[in-house]
Symmetry: D2
Subunit: 354 residues, 4 copies
């Protein structure tokens, strides 16, 4: 009953098979191998456009390196107050951009709103004493498991470009958002104004793999130097390429995401039906965020249910009382209904006593 994160699960067997199969013969190193070349072609086909794609090792690297092409050291990056780049990466974006300033906005439901972004930017009245507005970063699906609609992304893209800024999408859970919206990858990205994407694979069944995808190809000009300098260029690159080949092959990535999303919808339903917690957020991806009594939360932990108290103030549209916990349950491509039912069983046994 591990709902702690997507990454507590291992690798999808098909992807592992592909890694094993790639271990044959010699291959050129540093990303010049056949597997990586094919991965780049796959991504171009997937997004239905010419693009520049680079494989890297962690989501933090993908995000920070993306941002380093958009924001100068004296630049500002606007993001949500819960954004991974702001609160989970220990300053990696500052490292890779050379010191750009991340400005977090605490909009409800984990989703940046254009009006809030404009308010931040309009507050830059100090000329050279302010950082230079450079980029907006959105997370799709968001940190709270919600999903931007395509036209919401497009509105932010328009805002960014209208002010000479770039739009980055942190797609650590890109697949979960995509199957949720049911649209094409192109619609959710470059057609809506996204200039560069962190295309996450690890949380959704890969071993160690993210891609940086540039739709605005001018941003990619020196990216090979940037990746090398960031220690993200892998000598035995075939093992990244092979992961991507398998991940995209036959829609495996969509199947994995669809299953995880379905499990989250199921879990939200059965937990809510217990009447012992409330659900401030819709399930739009693979995460469930109940507000529950602290005593129940602690009981679940004691029973071996791995979950997580989400840091911060809550979802923004509900208030978490002092004796309550805003918890997070993440479903993965391997989560089963039985896992969900086992949690519910513990919840139902709880009689409200502390």
């Amino acid at each position: 009953m591990n709902f702690g994160s997507d990454n507590v699960y291992g690798v999808h067997p098909a992807i592992m098979d592909a890694v094993v199969a790639a271990n044959s013969g010699t291959q050129a190193s540093y990303g010049s191998d056949d597997f990586t070349h094919r991965a780049q072609d796959q991504l171009s086909e997937l997004f239905e456009c010419e693009l520049d794609a680079f494989l890297v090792l962690t989501g933090t690297a993908a995000n920070s390196l993306c941002l380093s092409t958009m924001a100068p050291p004296y630049g500002a990056i606007v993001c949500h107050g819960d954004a991974h780049i702001l609160v989970d990466e220990c300053g990696a974006p500052e490292l890779f951009t050379g010191g750009a300033k991340l400005i977090g906005v605490n909009d409800p439901l984990g989703k940046l709103q254009p009006g809030s972004i404009e308010q931040v930017l309009d507050g830059f009245v100090r000329g050279e004493h302010d950082p230079k507005p450079a980029a907006i970063s959105i997370t799709q699906a968001t940190e709270l498991g919600t999903v931007y609609a395509v036209d919401e992304i497009a509105a932010i893209g328009e805002l960014a470009h209208g002010r000479g800024m770039k739009l980055h999408m942190d797609g650590a859970r890109f697949a979960n958002a995509l199957v949720s919206l049911g649209c094409a990858p192109a619609e959710m990205t470059w057609k809506a104004g996204v200039d560069a994407l962190s295309f996450g694979c690890t949380k959704n069944g890969a071993m160690l793999l993210e891609a940086v995808v540039f739709f605005d190809r001018a941003l990619a000009a020196d990216f090979s130097h940037r990746r090398m300098r960031a220690a993200q260029l892998v000598s035995k690159g075939r093992f990244l390429g092979a992961q991507m080949n398998s991940y995209l092959e036959g829609g495996l990535w969509l199947d994995n995401a669809r299953h995880a999303n379905d499990m989250a919808t199921y879990l939200q339903g059965v937990l809510e039906a217990t009447g012992k917690m409330r659900m401030p957020l819709p399930v739009q991806a693979n995460e469930v965020f109940p507000i529950m009594p602290r005593a129940l939360f602690e009981l679940l932990l004691s029973k071996g249910v791995v979950t997580y108290q989400w840091p911060g103030e809550g979802p923004g549209n509900d208030t978490v009382a002092a004796d309550e916990v805003f918890a997070r349950f993440v479903c993965s491509f391997l989560t089963s209904k039985a896992d969900c039912d086992a949690v519910v069983s513990e919840v139902e046994k709880w009689n409200g006593a502390v």
Copy 2:
């Protein structure tokens, strides 16, 4: 006949098996898994001391992060002029240290000599206008396939500590040097004054794995933050831990290195016996560096022998003529005598015509 680099080969089957075997059930993420804990214990046993070890993804990351604990942004790091950190990492050490200055010394045979280091340091007569001497970095085995004797390391360690500096060892080919010297890991490292080590595994049969090993544990104080910020903390850390478990298990790492070294010794012998090239360097690890006519070098490339023209001026104890090439052949755990013989066969067929 691929002698281009150690990394053109794949992963040793036993290590791949361990990766596959680790893909079962859930595990705590971000290096809190059982495999990683065991890897840390293994390293401690291997080096016969208490130490702090952290798994990272690339050799560049291991080196740059090590150095970031030793050198402040206004510090100086002395290394060989051929050092990987100086000429192969596109400024990654500068990135991770925040701008420390690497000072390369062109000693012969790829090995830093104490006198040369002292000459550099004695030239720091400008007070605060100079960087602050902070670290010395040596590569074992060196970029030219030579190996520092234990007392040579100790002399540099003494010099470093006598001046309040730290000693880093880039051990991308640590195993090759170790089997060459036939000493214990402790003797070649902390007993000789090494404060931190980049313990390389990828070139010697792993997939994606290096360890940063701190013998001076004070240097490790904030390393978990440093690694995270450098985007080198892996969510599915079990797959790093499992590689290390297998790499060290039963001496696999030593067997791999011994085989590669033996092949290099064999290759040096049979190439030299052709009388068509000269060997300015002894084989002390898994690399062979002949000086050969350019015409022969180009013939070999055209015949499918993958090798590499080593950049720069030559080994320092011989002169490379304008119509000659200083070439590098790297042997790996998978290189065979047949591979070597196939090269020799091409060399012998060459009649000296251009």
Copy 3:
């Protein structure tokens, strides 16, 4: 009628005389001159302790370099949401610290409260994914012209040290706060837990001069390198030393600050007496922050009254309506009652029409 900033005024004549007088004969360069040595002695006497003091050129340099000794690149610095280091220095603290994260807290009246700081720090529950809490920075007098009482500083100092953090004071208007409190410099600084101070002189009558003062002398260990690398070491250092000599001589700095504070008190009184604006903040230093109708604010600008619309939301204890302006008037050592009366005269003529 220029109330735009303290720095629109020139240099106090006595300080200018000292600069001119220093221009005689040769002096050792780079801060080894007699004037600078005397300045260091003066600061030590002034603060009644052994300390390390370094002269630099701008307040931004003083702040950022101070912070670079306290916070590692992966560190966090807690400050007020209005702090100069956060919103007026275009990322200089990020540059000089190598990427530390500044976290702004929007407490009322421009003053950080211990409870708010603790709330931020208690929210660091992500381990290595969070930055490491490193420093707290307070501004004395604050950006809103208010002043921390000595025991308020001490409470923050205790909090900082209790958590292994350092306390920085941005003293751009140190003298104004000091005469306001009527205490000794030592009481307002190291006795209350301040580890390092940006001792501002430029706003209070100097030409180009700030001092970085370390009470925690361990922080100063490599500061000469830091200052040089930051391009803040001046070759003709005598001209900085001479400014400081004169600034502190005979209490000139206190006289200047007292005058400016008195003018602010006077201005607040006469403006408030017009009945055409309200004063949400007490005058505790040399600044007046009225909330006035936007039409009146614009009238004043049109009449040549140089003032400034303070960015942001207001003082936190009052609400600024859409047709109002939260304005700032700064008084200097050269501001006169006639200047104040001239403003009042324009205000009184205004009949409320837009």
Copy 4:
């Protein structure tokens, strides 16, 4: 008898008068004052072109900020092995560029030669593992008091632009070089391919003043942010503007430089005539570099002659024996023949005994 550096002297009286005169009334801060605007116009007239000029405080700042517009963090900057940016600025260029790599070339006479630059650049054969060639920096006059001829600059400019690189000139002693060549400022800069210039004033009679001058105006696009973030934007900017106004007015700067150069020529002549030292370098600016017996050098120090043992190997066209010193004497706008004669008198008294 102080020949230690140009900066041991004070400020030219006319410049000091201008500083005093600027201290009247209020002025807009942060470089928006009348004096600064006039300085910008003066520089444009001087160089006979449209340009962007920014006043800063130190030569290190001017150089490092210039380079930060030319070289990305993953870029390489080629300079002479004696260059101030390489060996006298404690890593400031690395700080302000975010980690670019400076590559020093030890050509004789302190002057970079195109062939040597090309050799460095041709050695970049490692693709993304190498830094990206970004800028060449030359010093005019050089660290060894020699001067590039206009066509020598043009040859380097052509080389730079032919490889997509920029050309920076460190003009800490720009005036000395200019009067030496007797050409127009435009000829020695943009007409010869210089893209940006550190225009030094401090060594030649100003108090605290350098200008960053962009002939390639695209480089200046975000420079106001860069300068602010580097803590080089001065609040009371009028005092920088006033220095420049006076410095350029009526050719004061050229008069100062001509005098200093003349004194150096005189000093070289009279020292050489003593027969007790040799002069490996021609005097082309305001510096004299004799090679003399160490005993004589120490005698001079003991007699109060302030001079300096130049670090490093010597001028490249002569050999400094173990019992000799390669010394530097710098003449300034205030150096007199009597100062020179006083040194000679001490030299003549020396009888060769140690």
